[in-house]
C-alpha cells in the first residue's frame, strides 16, 4: 500500500510549500494560499471528472453525479468510499468522511483544528472541478468539528 501514501506525502509538501515563505502573513496571504490549493484541486478534478466516468453508465440526474463522487472519485483518490451523503433535495449536499486520509496523520482531537482548512482546500477544489466537468456549477466548503472527521458542503448553483 505504498502507492496510497504517496499522494498524502505530496499533498503534505504542497501545503507546507505554500505556507513556507511567510508562516503568519495575516488574512490576505492565508486566503491566497487557500485559493492556490483550490485552483490546483480544481484542475485535477476537471481531468478526473473526465477520465473516471469512462466506464460508468450515463448519469440520469444530479444525485447520480454526487454518488459518483462519493464512491468512485473517493476510491480513486483515497482508496475508500465516503461515509455518508445527505441532501435536502434542493441542490445542497453534505458529504461526510469520518476518517479523512489527509487529516488522519494529525491524530484525533482538537489539537490541530485551526490548521485543518489548509488540508481541505485542495479537496474542495477537486470536488468543484469534477462537478464542473460533469456539468454542474458548485460552491464547495469544508468543515471539521473533530479530527479526522470532516464534512464537505456542496451547493449546486442553478443556472
Amino acid at each position: 500500500m505504498a502507492d496510497a501514501v504517496l499522494f498524502e506525502f505530496l499533498h503534505t509538501e504542497m501545503v507546507a510549500e505554500l505556507w513556507a515563505p511567510d508562516p503568519d502573513p495575516g488574512s490576505g496571504g492565508k486566503r491566497r494560499s487557500l485559493s492556490v490549493l483550490e485552483g490546483l484541486g480544481f484542475r485535477v478534478g476537471q481531468a478526473l471528472g473526465e477520465r473516471l466516468p469512462l466506464e460508468t453508465p450515463a448519469f440520469r440526474e444530479e444525485l447520480d453525479a454526487l454518488k459518483f463522487l462519493c464512491r468512485d472519485l473517493w476510491a480513486a483518490m483515497f482508496q475508500k468510499h465516503m461515509d455518508g451523503l445527505r441532501t435536502n433535495h434542493q441542490g445542497t449536499y453534505v458529504l461526510q468522511d469520518n476518517s479523512f486520509p489527509l487529516l488522519v496523520t494529525m491524530g484525533s482531537g482538537p489539537q490541530y483544528l485551526e490548521e485543518a482548512p489548509k488540508f481541505l482546500a485542495f479537496t474542495c477544489g477537486l470536488l468543484c472541478g469534477a462537478l464542473h466537468t460533469l456539468g454542474f456549477q458548485s460552491l464547495v466548503t469544508a468543515s471539521v468539528a473533530s479530527l479526522p472527521a470532516c464534512k464537505f458542503q456542496v451547493v449546486i448553483q442553478k443556472s
Partner: protein
C-alpha cells in the same frame, strides 16, 4: 471508415472537427450541426426513460442517402459525432461503438494533458493521429 469526426463541447461549440475530402467540408459541418438536435432529443429522452437506458453510445442519429451519422455523449456532456459513408456496408454497430470508445479514451488523455486548457480547441498531435487512423480510406 469515417468521413467526418467532430467533438462538441457541452456548451455546443466545436472543440474539434475534421473531414475528408476537404472539398466536402461545408456539407459535413452542416450535417454535424443538424445532428446536434437529434443528440439533444436522445439525451432528454434518456433522462425520462423508465427503463434503465444509460448508454453513452447514441447509435444512428439519422441516415441520409449517402451517409450515416452516429452519436456518442460522455458523462461530462461532451458530444462526439461521426459521419460514415453509407456505401461502407462492412462497418457494423460494434465497430462504430469501439471507434467512439477510442475517441473517448483519447479525449480523456487530452483533458489530462497539463498544457491543455479545458474548453479550448483540441490541438493534440496524438489525437490527430488517432482520428487519422479512423479516416484512412481502405479502398
Amino acid at each position: 471508415m469515417a468521413v467526418c469526426i467532430a467533438v462538441i463541447a457541452k456548451e455546443n461549440y466545436p472543440l474539434y472537427i475534421r473531414s475528408t475530402p476537404t472539398e466536402s467540408e461545408l456539407k459535413f459541418h452542416y450535417m454535424v450541426h443538424t445532428s446536434l438536435d437529434v443528440v439533444d432529443e436522445k439525451i432528454s429522452a434518456m433522462g425520462k426513460a423508465l427503463v434503465d437506458q444509460r448508454e453513452l453510445y447514441l447509435g444512428l442519429l439519422y441516415p441520409t442517402e449517402d451517409y450515416k451519422v452516429y452519436g456518442y455523449v460522455t458523462n461530462s456532456k461532451v458530444k462526439f459525432v461521426m459521419v460514415v459513408d453509407s456505401s461502407n456496408t462492412a462497418l457494423r454497430d460494434n465497430e462504430i461503438r469501439s471507434m467512439f470508445r477510442k475517441l473517448h479514451n483519447s479525449y480523456t488523455d487530452v483533458m489530462c494533458n497539463p498544457f491543455y486548457n479545458p474548453g479550448d480547441r483540441i490541438q493534440s498531435r496524438a489525437f490527430d493521429t488517432m482520428v487519422t487512423s479512423m479516416m484512412i480510406q481502405v479502398c
